[in-house]
Amino acid sequence: MTQSVTVTIKVNETEYSREVEPRMLLSDFLRHELGLTGTHVGCEHGVCGACTIMFDGESARSCLMFAVQADAHNITTVEGLASDQENLHPLQQSFWEAHGLQCGYCTPGILMTLVPFLKQNPNPTEEEIRHAISGNLCRCTGYQHIVDAVKLAAEKMQVVE
């Protein structure tokens, strides 16, 4: 056991201070320390993408970072997307409508990959979408409905803006 350190991390606009061991992964911090279990853990070595979160606005694998590295940084998890239970983020709404998920295990990671992607590419081609989600494994959908959902979301988000 190494010495614990105090970290203060802003997650979904709320600041949390906790004592953690340096070896605690950010993914475990979110799930076990904060109870934010929307961030899923699949492979824990950066291949599956299920644990993807936004680190200072950019998508990143939370299983490939230590919680201490997030000290004084901004994290957004899937829990931070919808304003409330009735009002989903347009991307979530599109996944719902276009059947972009079946079991849902990969969904939080895919959403957190796509939110910054759609910000940078508001009108993506199918090829760009497929490249963007290349780092997220889905074993149910065959990806087609995910691609459809992203196209739908891009349309919705342009109307909103």
């Binding site: 061991e21 340096p22 992964l25 824990e44 998508s59 490939l64 590295q69 290349s134 780092g135």
Partner: protein
């Protein structure tokens, strides 16, 4: 799947990091982007007793032009390299190859210096450093030195850094006039480790003959493999498909030493190298005639 305990240090200047490395060279591991180190620690393949995290050292993260070179701080993220306008203009080979480095989420965290020092034979950046004749600046507490890329890679996951040295900067010369480039790889899925890959450069002289060429391969040996003899076959020649084929045959049969893996046998890797070499040389030569 949890890393073994370690002592954690997070210096906020290069001097502090070098002092820590001086004191703990034998136990400490540098944490850069962590996209190779942390998975290895999660598997406990690596159990360093101390990590020195460079992520808070702002002065290690920059990309800027300086005379006729580009200077890249070792902690510049791969994603910044991918989108940097100077790199796109001055070293188009690196710009074109960058999207092949893993996935966007990995490139957001992964650093140019981290991937170079990791020296994975299947990684893109070591190959690109060799192809671009980069120079690498290493520092320790007592000073600094420059190492040419060709002297830097010393085998499987091994580089020519002393235990107390940190890679701090990468110097990339601007592409010469009339230089064409090509980067190609074959991977089972976009972003996965490639079964074979090549970075090619072709520089033409004023008469349109080949002045020099460079052919560097990934996943083709125990480090980035520079096919010097195959490239030499092209020099002084008016390039054509026949020459591309001869160079491709020579490089794929005599110069690379692929090991084979679960995705591709060594023979198939050689076949891929031969095909990719011809295509890459064709594209690079075409581009050299255009720029």
């Amino acid at each position: 799947m949890k890393p073994a305990p370690f002592e954690y240090h997070v210096p906020d200047s290069i001097e502090q990091a070098l002092a820590l490395m001086h004191e703990h060279a034998d136990d400490a591991k540098i944490l850069a982007g962590g996209q190779s180190l942390v998975p290895a620690m999660n598997f406990r393949i690596m159990q360093p007793s101390m990590l020195i995290d460079l992520n808070r050292i702002a002065e290690l993260s920059y990309i800027r032009e300086d005379g006729n070179v580009i200077r890249v701080g070792a902690m510049a993220r791969e994603r910044h390299v991918e989108f940097d306008p100077s790199i796109a203009k001055r070293t188009p080979l690196l710009h074109e190859a960058a999207p092949n480095i893993a996935h966007p989420q990995i490139r957001n965290r992964g650093t140019i210096g981290g991937s170079i020092v990791n020296a994975d034979p299947a990684a893109e950046l070591p190959v690109l450093m060799l192809a671009l004749s980069a120079r690498l600046k290493a520092k320790n507490k007592s000073g600094e030195r420059w190492i040419d890329a060709k002297d830097f890679f010393a085998g499987m996951f091994t580089v020519a850094l002393e235990p107390d040295e940190i890679l701090v900067e990468i110097e990339l010369p601007f592409a010469e006039p009339r230089t064409g480039w090509s980067f190609m790889e074959v991977a089972p899925r976009s972003g996965d480790y490639a079964m074979m890959g090549i970075a090619a450069l072709v520089t033409l002289d004023k008469s349109g003959k080949c002045k020099s060429a460079k052919l560097v391969y990934l996943n083709a040996g125990d480090g980035p493999v520079d096919a010097v003899a195959a490239a030499k076959m092209l020099e002084g020649e008016k390039l054509n498909d026949k020459l591309f084929e001869s160079a491709a045959v020579h490089a794929s049969e005599k110069e690379i030493t692929p090991f084979g893996n679960i995705h591709a046998s060594a023979d198939f890797q050689r076949h891929l190298a031969k095909m990719l070499t011809q295509r890459a040389l064709k594209q690079a030569t075409q581009r050299a005639g255009e720029v």
